[in-house]
Symmetry: C2
Subunit: 375 residues, 2 copies
């Protein structure tokens, strides 16, 4: 049986492994926490640091293929493994571009992919020269994740919040909508594009409220979104699953915000909502099967379950009983023992033909389910 390793043992690994059990594949996971969400769902679990060369190299050298569930992995080890014949999804060259925000922005520019204007800053002091570029977002080059590593710098007064490390200063776009597109690419370069997703934010808190798929867009904007997302993925020259996040501005211009070279939160609805989920699709790519269908079975919304502010420690879920009574709702709890404010603890999917029903149930879930701690 083909041997496939996953670097990282969080919820993305967990859902990949739920899906792996449909296929003949032997699974390996490395993570530094033996109680992580994916640890008990693979054939072989290894305690190790995914950022450490030796750990990643030793984990990977007996495997046929490796994939990642987080960008912050040791890419030198992956390059070495690739040169020794291990197939890596995504390719280390693509990962390298994406995991560094400076390289990622330069990549968009070089390939004429629309993305907001930016300036590279080496440290905090650098920003003083760019007051006239504000308002802007300061994004740290390395290590940003799940909203961390981004600071809004609207005026001079915000300069103290800037990162004192290599970063990009990105011009703010007048955003009308945020859209995500998941794209699959196989080793033959064939691709499959999932219907785009509307990411609806709470403007007050700047938190993702819910996601709806397919997105409501005019055909003209939809075609632009899909063409740009596909160009990003083609120019990365790598097989795998990619999530391209885009902005649509008030004039219907489309900009790439950022790209993830892996299964992604914005594709979780595909588990129930599409014929081949993003997780199923990645196994098809790795195992050399035909690409699956991205067709919609039913339109879907998802709500992330985040750790409530003010609660840390052993997790308890409030309101699940009520939500599990709703006929068209699917609960995914990630099995993390401890909650922290803002930590992703699960998600809930809603299926319905009616967009109003999706929004109604998404709001109901957000008001009802609370992730708190025992004390």
């Amino acid at each position: 049986m083909i041997k496939v390793g996953i670097l990282g043992g969080g919820q993305l690994g967990r859902m990949l492994l739920q899906s792996a059990a449909n296929y003949p594949v032997q699974t390996f996971v490395m993570e530094n926490d033996a109680n992580c969400p994916a640890a008990h769902l693979c054939h072989h679990f290894t305690i190790g640091d995914i950022r450490n060369f030796e750990d990643v190299y030793n984990f990977g050298k007996g495997l046929d293929a490796i994939t990642i569930e987080i960008e912050s992995v040791n890419e030198e080890a992956l390059e070495r493994l690739e040169s020794e014949g291990v197939r890596i999804y995504p390719k280390p060259a693509a990962l390298k571009i994406i995991k560094n925000k400076i390289l990622q922005k330069q990549f968009y520019k070089e390939n004429e992919i629309p993305s907001s204007e930016f300036i590279i800053t080496a440290n905090k002091l650098d920003l003083n020269q760019h007051i006239d570029f504000l308002p802007a977002a300061h994004k740290i080059a390395l290590g940003g994740y799940d909203g961390r590593g981004v600071q809004l710098i609207k005026t001079k007064e915000d300069l103290s919040k800037a990162f004192d490390a290599p970063a990009i200063l990105e011009k703010l776009v007048s955003i009308k909508k945020e859209i995500a597109v998941i794209i699959a690419v196989n080793d033959e370069g064939e691709n499959a594009v999932y219907p785009s997703v509307d990411m609806v934010f709470d403007n007050r808190l700047n938190l993702l409220e819910y996601q709806i798929s397919p997105a409501t867009l005019t055909n003209k904007v939809l075609w632009k979104v899909e063409a740009i997302a596909l160009k990003v993925v083609k120019d990365l020259k790598s097989s795998g699953i990619f999530a391209v996040e885009l902005f649509v501005d008030i004039d219907d211009n489309v900009f790439v915000n950022e790209t993830a070279p892996r299964v992604h939160n914005s594709g979780h609805h595909t588990i129930e909502g599409n014929y081949s989920s993003q997780f199923d699709m990645l196994w098809r790519i790795i195992l050399g099967y035909p690409l699956g269908s991205t067709e919609v079975i039913l339109p879907a919304a998802i709500v992330n379950l985040l750790g409530e502010a003010g609660y840390a420690g052993e997790v308890v879920y409030e309101g699940l009983q009520e939500i599990l009574q709703i006929e068209n709702v699917f609960v995914h709890i990630y099995g993390k023992k401890e909650t922290r404010p803002g930590r992703k603890m699960g998600h809930i999917t809603i299926l319905s033909k009616e967009k109003q029903e999706l929004i109604h149930q998404a709001n109901r879930i957000k008001q009802t389910v609370k992730v708190k701690s025992v004390n």
Copy 2:
């Protein structure tokens, strides 16, 4: 986190564990083979004999609840564990009735549940007194599984095939259709009935060809089928998942064939075809959540992938590549290393609104996918 054990580590355990990863539950499996399909998908795997009192008792005594994926488990140990407060799905009293074909038939009779006429036989010689009862099916009381433990005795000449052990001799019914109904019962006695399933047989080989859900039945027959199946489950007085298999004869009379007190092959289409799958539903029951919805998302068919006659040893799957190109098809390979003739190695689900499409793809899959061995 609640601790739940599964006795048996085959494909039913595997699919239960794929589903368990959506909920906060710590999973335990016992089986005598460390390479069984479910071994790597639980938190704690124990090597042990599910038929042995000590093994089952020791496995279960620290757990909150236990379920089974096969009937041939040590029921005395389960009774002991139940008396000590471990919740058992199904209750040992119900399991006891069902796992012995003699007790199962007597249970139908005592509860006035229509089932074909039968005679209890203690050994082979006994059958000589019942020549006038032929043609009949001889079914061994204990240990029959997946078609084993049944012999057709049409005439005196077939008597040599009879079992020399306690068994029942069951009058043959002129079968027009075979139907299965999956029913869920929670600890409060509430139930949820899945739409019934048409089990289509190859009359030549007496092998299940494919299953289609929902079944095509007149309302009158459907109501009879559902009422009888529900009566079986209510009279068993146990929570859990139950699969009731029934015959419809040429006069539209409905008879119970047999009942399984667990998740069942005839419910596999519910993974993709229904809002709450049979596996999801069992977790809801065990974890004390509300029952899920048995509503159909899309009509479904399934085809079992059985080991091809004449092949034994390390498994290879022929034709998967072709079948995985079909948009509305879902492959489930059970991860068994070795094939044997007739062994259940996987199943494939088809979703479609059109019954003709379900039948067409089911036939295509049967002709295309072959489970063979390396040599």
